[in-house]
């Protein structure tokens, strides 16, 4: 019997790894992958609470999060392609046109 806290700690570790990846990496596509990691860790929290509370609502929420992740990946990668066409790079340090 694995206690609930272990699932939550695992989820927290994956979320922190994803967050540090978003802050430190400069490759736009790897930043997107780190965001996917963070979304997945939140999904794990939803499913863990759903299983421990005996309620399917959490799993329905995971379904919606996956839909949002799919939409985000499609639009985000289209933005990356459009940026690459303009600047010939996916380095986020060089894409600073909106920087104040």
């Amino acid at each position: 019997m694995v206690p609930l806290q272990l699932y939550l700690i695992l989820s927290a570790m994956m979320f922190i790894i994803g967050a540090v990846g978003v802050v430190t990496r400069r490759n736009a596509i790897i930043v997107f992958m780190s965001i996917e990691l963070m979304l997945n860790s939140v999904n794990l929290t939803f499913v863990a609470f759903s299983a421990f509370l005996g309620d399917a609502t959490g799993q329905v929420f995971v379904f919606f999060v996956m839909t949002v992740a799919a939409a985000e990946a499609a639009v985000g990668l289209a933005i990356v392609i459009a940026l690459f066409r303009r600047k010939q790079t996916v380095n986020l340090d060089e894409i600073n046109i909106m920087k104040w």
């Binding site: 694995v2 806290q5 927290a12 430190t24 490759n27 790897i30 609502t57 379904f63 990946a73």
Partner: protein, 169 residues
């Protein structure tokens, strides 16, 4: 140790190791492969939580559809081992890692505070994660959010096509 615990520790270790490899690899293709490993480990953990439907959807949608899109874009843009993207040592990383570790310790501390959570037992009912149970909730209580989801996906498709068109103007 029961089989459930052994499986949990195997998948948890695999998940964390692959997540660390995703954010440290320089080559995006290697990172994409490791994030697929991470998705499979998560699907295994969902199975130990009796969430069969979510586990299958995780592999089909995430490892199948979304990651194919990522790999497709990486190969389309030909992002090999780009020298210009090499991240060397920088204080930014140390500070980010330190902050991350601090937040993690805080979260672990909060989870360990004695509360009702420690004594919570996993429900013996193994049928809340089946397609039937999820479908019943999805098409009754969550029917309106489900329909809004279709709108979101349509908007995403249109947005992606418009953004990736040859001339944005």
């Amino acid at each position: 140790m029961t089989l459930e615990e052994i499986l949990f520790y195997i998948f948890a270790f695999g998940g964390i190791a692959s997540a660390l490899l995703v954010v440290t690899r320089r080559n995006p293709i290697i990172a994409a492969i490791y994030i697929i490993v991470n998705f499979f480990c998560l699907a295994g953990i969902y199975l130990t939580l009796h969430a069969q439907f979510i586990a299958v959807v995780q592999i089909l949608v995430y490892a199948g559809a979304i990651m194919v899109l990522f790999v497709f874009v990486i190969m389309l843009l030909n992002l090999g081992d780009e020298r210009s993207l090499r991240d060397g040592f920088s204080w930014k990383k140390v500070v980010a890692g330190g902050f991350g570790f601090g937040v993690l310790m805080e979260l672990v501390y909060i989870f360990m505070i004695p509360s009702g959570m420690q004594t919570m037992e996993m429900t013996r009912a193994t049928d809340i994660g089946t397609v039937e149970a999820i479908g019943r909730v999805l098409f009754t209580r969550f029917l309106f959010p489900f329909e809004v989801t279709s709108l979101l996906l349509t908007a995403a498709i249109v947005g992606a096509i418009v953004l990736a068109k040859k001339n944005l103007d």
